[in-house]
Symmetry: none
Subunit: 603 residues, 2 copies
Amino acid sequence: MTSKVSTIDVHNTSSAYYAPATVAPGGKHVFVSGQAGLASDGSVPTDYVSQIHLALWSLRRIVIAANANIQNIAKLSVYIVDYDAANRKHTRPLMRFLGKHRPAITLVPVQKLAVPTWLFEIEATLVLPTIDMPRALPAPKVAVDVVIIGAGLSGLTAAHEVLRSGHTCVILEARDRVGGKTWSQELEDGKGVVDLGAAWINDVNQSKMNALAKRYGAELIEQNTFGDCVLQDFDGCCSKFPYGEVPMFDKDTRKHLVEIRDMVEADCQNVDAWGPRDPSLDSLTFEAYLASRGADKIALATAAVWTRAMLGQDPCDISALFFLNYCKSGGGLLTMRSDRKGGGQHLRVRQGTQLFAKGLASDLPKGTISLSSPVQNITQRGRQQADLLAGGVLHSARKVISTVPSPVLKTISFNPPLPQEKIAWSTSSGYGYYCKAMMQFSTPFWIEKGFCGLAQSFIGPASVVRDTSSPTDKKHILTCFMAGDSGKAWSTLPQQEREQALLKQLQALFTISDLQRSFVKSYSYEWNDDEYAAWGCPSISLTPGVLSGVGADAFRQPWKNIHFAGTETAGEWKGYMEGAVRSGERAALEVVKDLTSGVVARL
Amino acid sequence: MTSKVSTIDVHNTSSAYYAPATVAPGGKHVFVSGQAGLASDGSVPTDYVSQIHLALWSLRRIVIAANANIQNIAKLSVYIVDYDAANRKHTRPLMRFLGKHRPAITLVPVQKLAVPTWLFEIEATLVLPTIDMPRALPAPKVAVDVVIIGAGLSGLTAAHEVLRSGHTCVILEARDRVGGKTWSQELEDGKGVVDLGAAWINDVNQSKMNALAKRYGAELIEQNTFGDCVLQDFDGCCSKFPYGEVPMFDKDTRKHLVEIRDMVEADCQNVDAWGPRDPSLDSLTFEAYLASRGADKIALATAAVWTRAMLGQDPCDISALFFLNYCKSGGGLLTMRSDRKGGGQHLRVRQGTQLFAKGLASDLPKGTISLSSPVQNITQRGRQQADLLAGGVLHSARKVISTVPSPVLKTISFNPPLPQEKIAWSTSSGYGYYCKAMMQFSTPFWIEKGFCGLAQSFIGPASVVRDTSSPTDKKHILTCFMAGDSGKAWSTLPQQEREQALLKQLQALFTISDLQRSFVKSYSYEWNDDEYAAWGCPSISLTPGVLSGVGADAFRQPWKNIHFAGTETAGEWKGYMEGAVRSGERAALEVVKDLTSGVVARL
């Protein structure tokens, strides 16, 4: 605390005659200069929405540098060039940035800003609370070598690796069950399950899941790709096309679609899986990237089907570099989207994917997992000394492996505080709207009509539909993926109307009437309301500027005694079970290496 | 301190429905309304830069009225009409206003402001620190009638006058020497001196210096004006012209130059030396004043040579009224700039001008001067009761004469605080860049080539060069005056390169090659780094608005028991030794009168 107005600087600002922000004496008030949309290399993308994302990213960096958070913003002023009241492009990124926090805001349309290329500028006033002194912690009750946070596939895998190395460990799990985002629910008649979360693996390039499938006797169901797929166009009209081909648009459109798709495929193959680096690609939204490469309306709508089905996001909400890197982690856009051998959605598990977590958990020594133990506080007191407070119990460990999705870090208090890069990542990362509804029918009507069950829609409510039946159990199921804007609109309906809307869409897609008669029941779960899933599924996304602002390693890198895992940190198959398992192995390896070298050093 | 939002008013604002500023309950937060560039009579100059200076002046007034200072500014918003990103005119005055303080700033280009003629508006948020309680002072150790601050010519003269009236006094001098901005340094061989500071007097209208010269046996050296002068044009080309004439431009240019020069001369003669009053002239920079009177590029460059050589300032940085008044104090532009009889630069002192201060000091009773005693605090407890803390010693006095340049007042804490007008003056006043380099040569090569040694340059590094040789000592010296922007650029060079740049310029000016051979040594001193000189030399300048905002007497007027002297307060020969001596006499007279009447009143 200082008695003067002090300045906050970020990289390359200390030579300017003004500061990015000032802190008032006493440290409670922070004044942030207008922030514009500059890429990490200082360039300014011409795209309007990309600039907004980048300006918000700059603001976030300063907020973090001020030891503040978004909830401390009391006032915003937004300056907009070429403002169009009929097309308020700033509201969407701004609402996402603010979450549920509602500051005072003034919007000022202007003719120009300080630099001719700037289209958007945002200024903020923050007020911070008086800082509470940390309360005294209880005495440690549990002392182990490693505490693992989260009993999903990542944490369970890590526990096996740690124990195998001869070290002790416990897993602290916030939920009352294991499995994290794998969660299999029995059908009403007790025969067969639906997967409320992760559902698919493959046996080609997912070696870890393939091994687990063999170990735990998973009965695999191959995804059905025989028969026609369906496309629902902007006007609601539906048309058939063979699996693996491009929908039946006119010739030029199909050619254009293939070109755009192949360009994305080629571009994502050029991105480094572990260390994507391209300030220019990262300065653009995926939509701006596509538009800058000439994508037309159909191509943009098709890309929206990709981003919605894969991440629950619309293309205007995520960084182009982030999306390309995400695709790359799963072998590329084509592989990740494929339902065939080696693709992202090739094989399902008849017993449900929670089989893996349950199996891994039951193979651990009794007492290894503490359920219903959300971690509240992590205090690091020195080398290989960390105390974790969870459910009122203090756990003492030499090393910590956190497997929670990055946004969950916001709910844990760290002492000392997390480094700025990790705060920036965990507060920037977020989920789009994403909800699966497993619609059970008494007959596989789509098969009978020559469809494979795969459908995609430009208008929703479901962006994508897939067959997730279990033939052995005689369970006929279509899983509808509601995601992004159209999914979010659907989610606001009452339960009854939600089902009706889906039935109506399925009738249109598969040219069948009176589906109500064969409809049995729907199963779904709102991951977006699940705190321990970081309010979403399947994977976080990043807005423009973050990846190149803090680096692709920012979240994954160990910090003091804490190591970070979870599918989000994987280089291969991010957002998939395979990525989770691999990340758990990687983090356990880091920890074991440090623990071992630590022992040597102490001699 | 109040529990309500209270208003701050300055002159003529209390009838408006808004306040110039408000203070939040508790007194720590101050919110300043947008300030535009109004002259003290409410008029708005059309000139852009002049408006910026005036708006900053308004802001300064409010900052002072809030008992705050520039360092308390947390946030600025700048609104600019006709903003041109390629010509950011606001940065220069704003950077000078802020000094090293770096608030958060947002710049908003706008189409127009509240009043059609406004081109610039600035809004501020200030946060003040919690005020420390003043520490208890030690017991007084010295008690005299008068404490004089500063042992320059002004303070030494005042001491003689005070003692002559039968009162006791001490002089507190911050430096370890007497003389202030007169400082003579012996040449390396011990024969002859150079004057690092003030150098010239005359024997026509500088009666005080003339008397001192006689009293202390100064050997006077007449400035050499025989032979040709040199002008270095924008392109670096040099041309000769006889002393006292206009450089050899084409006929029209020469005519125009003479007209502009004569206009400035006439206008300055119309300005009152002691009480300049002309809100219109004071609302303009000297550059805007010249431009509004049709000055062309050559005339503006010539005027820059004047302001640089006289004040270290560029014409865009100072008030027209201030400059005209400054000229008037020295008899007018022509007299002040003249090197001939009666001019500002007619006679030098072979022994160096510090001779005067040393002489005056040695004529004072032992113990009158305390060297190395910078004044930290002045507490006034009542009529003819003032305590001065200097170098850990408390001096008690009935009267105080401060002879320090006004910016030095910022370094002294006053209890009670200085009145707003004096704070406004002392925080507004400042020095431009100004540095003399005395270049000693083994031969007077310029004389041999028919030059008098006087040169002026539009490009620098030296704006003006003068012969400051001492023929008796056989010392051949050219003094280069680096001032304003071109001087500041030169000052950033390493010492070796500084000399080389000057040698190169002198070679061009005097059409001589290989000056290195006859170059002996250079002597100079960075007054801009000297705290006790108020970071500059020879005189402070004022930006538009100050003189008419607080009045020409604002700094000079006595306040409680403190009287103010120093060459800056002189009506005649401001910035010269003559002005210093006169101001010391004037302040001593004020003090003696009060002390005497005080005695009478007590009877």
